[in-house]
């Protein structure tokens, strides 16, 4: 520990040293994500993992961006979780926000018990797990779904421009991704629909409330069908395929590009823009309710 602190002090003593902009505690093997975060701004990065014996290492990692050199401190701590947690506390740079990033399927256990409480923000990916950790969380999956949410808005705009009294009475979400529950939850939340009943159907689940049905269907393709009721019954369809989102409504059709964004890109986007706006917590709650009807 003393060696680690001495090494950090020697880095801080350098004339070119720039105050870390935040502490980031990383867990998991997503080195590409960690490297990306380190390279855009100076941070104190602490990578933690479980091991029998406590060990530390501290290195300085610098990246050249244009004419600027960005240097971050990269600390690795391995050991029993409680000891790791105590060590991390001593190394957090004071007065700066702390992020925790875990991109691991397992979101229970040592990291969550011992490290997550030290973090102001926790970044995870619900594509990997249906469990959502408590506290201030950023779900990369929520960010990943943003373009689809946006295109659903455009699709509905088309229906409204066609018929102002158009109303959505049915939704079918076809998807192979484990994250479709979150999309379904978001749709219910935005439509202000609380499922009143539901049942397991072939390859999925169907939920109902007054004058509204939502089907969540496991499928090889990714599609969302919106059923509109107005002057006439109309169907709007959003299809994701080969990097494109295609919208079809009545005789109008258009395509927009779907940004297939990696975890690295999403983390950088979060870094640049901060938390995405939206109704995440309510969508998670409703999405889970829908899933419960399937079990």
């Amino acid at each position: 520990m003393k060696e680690a602190l001495d090494k950090l002090a020697s880095i801080e003593g350098q004339e070119s040293w720039v105050l870390p902009t935040r502490n980031v505690i990383g867990f998991g093997s997503e080195e590409e994500v960690f490297d990306a975060l380190i390279s855009v701004r100076p941070i104190r990065f602490i990578k933690v993992s479980e091991g029998a014996e406590l060990s530390y290492s501290v290195v300085e990692r610098c990246h050249k961006i244009g004419t600027e050199v960005i240097c971050s401190e990269y600390v690795t701590i391995i050991g029993p979780w409680h000891k790791v947690s105590l060590s991390v506390r001593a190394l957090l740079f004071p007065g700066k926000k702390t992020w925790g990033i875990t991109l691991d399927k397992n979101i229970t256990g040592g990291f969550f018990d011992e490290i997550a409480p030290l973090c102001d923000t926790l970044i995870f990916d619900s594509e990997l797990t249906k469990d959502v950790p408590a506290g201030a969380v950023i779900d990369l999956n929520w960010m990943r779904l943003a373009p689809i949410r946006e295109e659903l808005r455009y699709l509905t705009d088309m229906a409204i421009s066609h018929d102002k009294n158009s109303k959505i009475i049915g939704v079918k979400v076809y998807d192979s991704a484990p994250s479709s529950w979150l999309m379904a939850g978001w749709i219910c939340n935005k439509l202000k629909v609380e499922p009143e009943s539901g049942k397991k159907v072939a390859n999925g689940v169907s939920v109902k409330s007054k004058e509204f049905t939502l089907d969540l269907v496991e499928s090889n393709d990714t599609r969302i069908l919106l059923e509109f009721k107005g002057k006439d019954a109309k169907i709007g369809q959003l299809t994701v395929g080969e990097g494109l989102i295609t919208l079809e409504y009545s005789h109008e059709a258009r395509k927009r590009v779907y940004l297939k964004r990696s975890r690295k890109e999403l983390c950088l986007e979060y870094d640049a823009f901060g938390a995405p706006t939206g109704s995440y917590n309510e969508s998670v709650k409703l999405g889970r309710e829908i899933l419960e009807y399937a079990s």
Binding site: V18, L19, P20, T21, V40, R41, P42, I43, I65, G66, T67, E68, I70, A146, P147, R149, E150, L152, R153, Y154, T156, D157, M158, I160, S161, K164, N165, S166, K167, I168, K190, L191, K192, G243, L244, E252, R254, K255, R256, V257, Y258, L259, E265, L268, E269, A272, F273, P276, T277, G278, S279
Partner: protein, 502 residues
Amino acid sequence: MGNPFVEGRVLSPPSTILVIFGASGDLTGRKLVPGCYNLFKDGYLPESFSIVGVSRTPLSDEAFREKLKDGVTKYSRSGIDEEWWKQFSSRIFYQPLDATKEADFIALRERLQRIGGDTIPNYLYYLAVSPSLFGEIAGKLKGADLIETPGGVRETRLIVEKPFGYDLETAQNLASSLYQSAKEEQLYRIDHYLGKETVQNILVFRFANGLFEPIWNRKYVDHIQISVAEDIGVENRGDYFDKAGIVRDFVQNHVFQMLSLLCIEPPNSLSDAEGIRNEKVKVLKSIKRLTPGLVQKHIVRAQYGKGLIKGLDVPAYRDEKGVAKDSTTETYIAMSLEIDNWRWSGVPIFLRVGKRLSKRISEISVHFKQAPLSLFRGRQVESLEQNVLRIQVQPKEGISLRVNSKPPGPRMRVEPVEMDFSYHSSFGIASPEAYERLLLDAMRGEATLFTRQDEIEEAWKILEPVFDSFEELPLYFYEAGSWGPKEAAELLKPYGVRWARL
């Protein structure tokens, strides 16, 4: 029904083709394309984004890309990376166009359709051309069905660059010519000062800190200064500048925009573009109009003579290329103003803007009223400095607060010290170029940082009596490389204050 899927602010813009008119000009090579390159590199642009450069010169796509590469190499804040450039430049195209020929606009439409393929991208037109061409280009675009009704399948928007008129009447005429083809909500009047991080930070700083808003008023603020100093002369714009002068070139737009942001009342929401712009207009409307008799007392007008900048001899304004030998155009202006509303009544606001001054610096300073000295009587303290909040806009962006402090030692003394916040040391990264933020906002349809026509007109209304009295105002001269004419200091004397040291 309303659209239930509307969410908050959209982060990544939809598919867009940016069409730049005046593509062979300086702005395209220095700012627009390097700005887009950095946005692309940082992952902020949609996957289907293209640039189509338009101008009269016949050029191939390849030749246009080569020309732009030089600009990106020289002016990109992150330098140029061959791999990134290769990917980015494949999205750049060139279309020769004579703005007077309708057939050329039809050809442009066909080209845009081919580039868009089976997607329906938005079109964002950047008119980096003389304002005299705005109306004609917009009309031809409309005639070729390249400007569509807002809210349709494709959004079409126009970015226009200043000058927005020469006075109130010409500004109104310019707007009328654009309104024949586009609606106000499709017009994005760009003022690059509003894209600067520090200027955007004014609102955050005021409204996100409980500390400042309670004292942001006439009870605690003694006076405000806004200084915009340039060390360069008129460069190759002598012809234009000699007709416009510094008031039209800087005060009517950049300075009034900064002032209105600094002094606005809290808007309903920082994501409500119209709400913020409504409040800005209210500030401009509240600025006390100078009657012709008062102009002399409140304004100092001057022109630079020859001098020395960065160790080099520089010519007098009248010896610059494109400038009349007997020109009476001002290259420096100092003004005192007052905002006559509940919050600011009685707080003098001093503006000074000049070319060929000692250095390039833009700064807003808010000077707070002094603390009483009584507590320090009998000590070695003769005066207390005012607390000053300095918002540095360029070249280094940052904010500092001057506070009084006791220096170490056995004696009770008071010395001012600076509490500094600089973007680089706090966030560790350089601020993006102003144009990057503004281009991204225009693609997203986010209009907060663009100027609305009523703001333009109010700004001209404030300046009308000033222009009417120009001929009666003495024109002073100052040495290039100085801080302006000595008469500017006299302007502040009745208020018992001095210009901030820059």
